[in-house]
């Protein structure tokens, strides 16, 4: 699973990292900087929870064959 973050849309609410601290990283200003990160299998549920809480729907998770 791969994380795609639309950095133009991210408004720094930081809910992704609050709900899924092991998955999403924030930059110093509180904006998500996990664009392109790969999510290991055991964290995928957490990753989905974090993405679902984004008020901007800026996070898309792509299931790929390597890490699905």
């Amino acid at each position: 699973m791969k994380i795609i973050v639309d950095r133009q849309v991210c408004a720094g609410h930081a809910l992704c990292a609050a709900k899924a601290p092991d998955v999403y990283r924030l930059d110093e200003e509180g904006y998500c900087c996990s664009d392109g990160d790969t999510v290991p299998v055991h964290l995928q549920q957490q990753a989905r929870l974090g993405a679902r809480h984004c008020p901007e729907a800026a996070i898309v998770l792509i299931d790929d064959e390597d890490t699905a």
């Binding site: 408004a11 720094g12 930081a14 609050a18 924030l26 200003e29 509180g30 904006y31 008020p55 901007e56």
Partner: protein
Amino acid sequence: MKPPIPAHVPPERVVDFDRFTSPVLQRCPHQGVTELFSNSPDIFYATGDRGHWVVGSATVARDMLRQPDKFSSDPVNNPANARKPPTLPNQCDPPLHTELRRIINPFFSPAGVQKMEHAVRKLASELIDEVAPRGRCEFLHEIAQRFPVQLFMRMANAPMADREMLVAKVDRFTRAPDIQQRLAALTELGNYLQGMIAEREHSPGDDLVSLAIHGKVQGRGLTDDEKLGMVNLLFLGGLDTVAAMLSFIMAYLGQHPRQYQRLVDDPALIANAIEELMRVHGVAGMERGVTADMEYAGVQFKAQDRLVFMPHVYGLDAQMVDDPFRVDFDRPVSSHLVFGSGPHRCVGSHLARLEMKVFIEEWVRRIPAFSVDAEGDLPTRGGLVWSPVAVPLAWPSALAVAPAHQQAAA
């Protein structure tokens, strides 16, 4: 005198409700307004406060708040809520909004507020130590209107002696039923803050006001109106909301000793408990204006129609939360829109959470049991931000523990 209902509003959607003065707001407003909403259309037209739409359904509200192109924060689309100058960044839309918000975001990001934890804990400890031996306090005025307010005043580097005067102005802006009085309070606040802005322009510090007024948007510095609009909103948000929320939460814990005991026994539960207690005690609302004639969710809107959102009770909407009136500290997710949704979601949410969590951590360490010292339900006040009128608390002072200060600061 109430203005006439606009011709495009169908009679079956008209509800007699005034968000400042309706009797339902004067005791247990969360319960009363939730009942009112569940007996009304998802979107209805309230007759009070000069007439406006109210979005009563949480899921509909969440969808609307994420569409700023249709439901705008710019007073151009909502003239009834125009302010001079507009408060910012809440009274503008993306893309300007995105840039204005970026100026203040570092201060309020999770990493930014983490730096404040020590100061938050120290002040919470001091305030509780002051009242603990007494065995009683009136929580709203003696603690809630000091704790988050003093922290904010320190962030803004504002003179502490002006605290009560500023709190009174914000209170009038938030709760005066007459719009002229609200706008007058905002003007007074602005006149006061102009002085502070002028001073920080010449000798900036590392405080929040200096940060806000020296920001840049679209490659330029802020205009005078933008500076005032930003600083006005920081004070409106910083001086009232956490005080009201924490007062509701402490009243609840005083009325539910078994729930409180769980937090005393296991302080690790406090963070989750706060999320759940916020869900059922929303305090603040917001407005939007409709950008063009359109149909949405079965309602025919006209451009410049005024929409009021009430996250005060969205966490109690049975369509969003199962068994919403059951307060359960073990819920995996406490869904609520207490901080709003979409681009304008509250910038201070991480600070608010930190303040309330730290405060309750320090309270449970000193006061192992307490109750609300009043008969029946506590009187409350409606308005833009709901609040109890007073929260008298009492505890056996012999039980109060005074932890060593170095321990409190650890």
